[in-house]
Homo-oligomer: 409 residues x 2
Amino acid sequence: MKSLLLIAALGCGLCWGQAPADCKPSALNIPEAKYPCVYPDNRAMFRVVAPDAQKVTVHIGRGFDMTKGADGIWTATTTPLVVGFHYYSLQIDGATVADPSTMTFFGSGWQNSGIEIPESADAEYYHAKDVPHGHVSEQWYLSKITGKWRRCFVYTPPDYETNAKAKFPVLYLLHGWGEDETGWYTQGHVDFIMDNLIAAKKAKPMIIVMDNLNAVKPGESAALFAARGLVPAPGAAPAPQGAAGAQPGRGAGPGGRGMGGFDLSAFTDMMFTDLIPVVERTFRALPGRENRAMAGLSMGGMQTFTTALNNLDKFAYLGGFSGSCGGRGGTFDPKTTCGGAFADPAGFNKKVKVLFLGIGSAEGQGTKGFSDALTQAGIHNVYFESPDTAHEWLTWRRCLNDFAPRLFR
Amino acid sequence: MKSLLLIAALGCGLCWGQAPADCKPSALNIPEAKYPCVYPDNRAMFRVVAPDAQKVTVHIGRGFDMTKGADGIWTATTTPLVVGFHYYSLQIDGATVADPSTMTFFGSGWQNSGIEIPESADAEYYHAKDVPHGHVSEQWYLSKITGKWRRCFVYTPPDYETNAKAKFPVLYLLHGWGEDETGWYTQGHVDFIMDNLIAAKKAKPMIIVMDNLNAVKPGESAALFAARGLVPAPGAAPAPQGAAGAQPGRGAGPGGRGMGGFDLSAFTDMMFTDLIPVVERTFRALPGRENRAMAGLSMGGMQTFTTALNNLDKFAYLGGFSGSCGGRGGTFDPKTTCGGAFADPAGFNKKVKVLFLGIGSAEGQGTKGFSDALTQAGIHNVYFESPDTAHEWLTWRRCLNDFAPRLFR
């Protein structure tokens, strides 16, 4: 009787494969996996089979030490987590690894685990609905700039198939530090967001090109590649120590010509020499600056502003989601900030149809300050703040959902 | 001097991030990762950072215990491995996890690590070359049979874009047990194989649909889903114990109507009710049995024969790669084997334009025996044997490379 009570007191968290009734499996788990699961108050419960380990920790923003229970199963329940997509990792006796219970997601330079803390009512916009669906397709091309084969993913809207002669404007959309070309369609749900916006006639049908912002010219070293890494996203799982080059660094490499001292020129060169030509040759893309937009998140936002502000003859729409050329302190001076791109407000406003700055409310006031300074200097811009989210994919899904309807009007 | 000699004797395997000069990083590593690496004689060296672990083992077909060196880094060098793609996993103090140094691949029901032991000269056929490239695109659809959103990947040939009015025949191509719809384009390189065959005019341009063979009707239990798992591929990394339902089982679930006692009917129903209609509605697919082929590997081969042999009004081409309705022992009797599908050789040969049976030479003689028995019974069939390969993706890449040129002639 006593042992029965003890088992009851321990709760079902220790039962084999049986999660507590109010703890729902994360949408990112492998098929049939019950853990990690999420409680109604957004606490998450993790479970790891590691019978001979001495110490197991789950790292999700911060570390939560796990407790070893019956059968060598370790569990931990977090404090309530912010809604949205989070990378996380396990540390098992000093080894940083992904949780084998989830699908994996490329972030911080390796295949992390992921967990989704569901949004409430307004989350419909990034889920599959019974509307016409576009396609995300893989496009390989040989880059003259890097000398290597590269891959991008391309979203084509539902109309692309049904209207075989129509041409479409193009948004070039970039991921952040440590991520790759899979980010926007896997973590970002770009396809469902666009399908839903287009079905509701909120956004114009468009092609979206999602490339890999890492571009290294022959002779550039991997160290330079690593140095481009900037600072990893807050809350991102650390790269495992075994991965050479995945450690973020600081400082400009040789030949750095980009803003902020980082060499972002290789991607810009690659984009104009390789990517845009292959897209416009392969897909039914409308040509010209008024049919081209560029946006990116975090480091991809920085890349966007570096590339596009210096090439406004090629782009009429710009978006920075939690990343741009400003908002990181310092005094705003239209003559010098962002390489002097805002020195002529009237000229700028004539050329740039949308300048979009998005941020999560938990990310601080820097981007708001940058937007205000731009407005004060007479530069038209859109400021979008995602409520209650941090430097992560839910902020960026919401940014895209707000940004895309403004394009190609 | 002595310690210097000792360091020299230990070799560079223990140096931080510096692989021995003749050990080349696997093509499947995360960017910049030097390990695992492959020696010219096909031994592989693995390296794991796990400073506080007591025991670390790498499982690749069999287990290799790793040795702890300086800085808590564990290493192991295998015996020579068979060429091709191999899933593998690590065991760290009893926890089965993926190696954080590689990209991950869905097999055995979870995201394993992978390593590629390169083929020699003839491997060109599955690599990116400077030829026109088709697309692999993601297609979502809501299934009436399962009541859930499903995803398939669709290869469209280069001509699909350039010739906007042309229609194409369709090959439905399935993965194996524990894998998913990503297998053929990630592990299998279906896109490069087809691009190269089409550029060389060896294969006709075709659409290839890669779906997920797991289909569960509402009310069917996850246990049934697991019971469909058959036997995992030899050499496949075991599923982590934490993943409920990922354990393979045996035996037929309730309502099982498929060959061999397994219920393969849900996928067949789903294919005819949902998949084929959505493909023929969305893509420029040629209709009719002579424009439809079906093939699959391992359990996907078994599914192919179950589905297609019972529906020869819908398919004219069949392929089983290391899996079909025969070849697993027992006496061949045209009246009863494979549900009596071969009882009328003349009728069968008139309907089925290609019946293809592929196998790796290391997989035994069962498939050869089945092919010989079919031939003796008067059933035309093609037997293809991949030299020196086992039950893994290199066998199946070679099967596709041999099978695709035979289609739609």
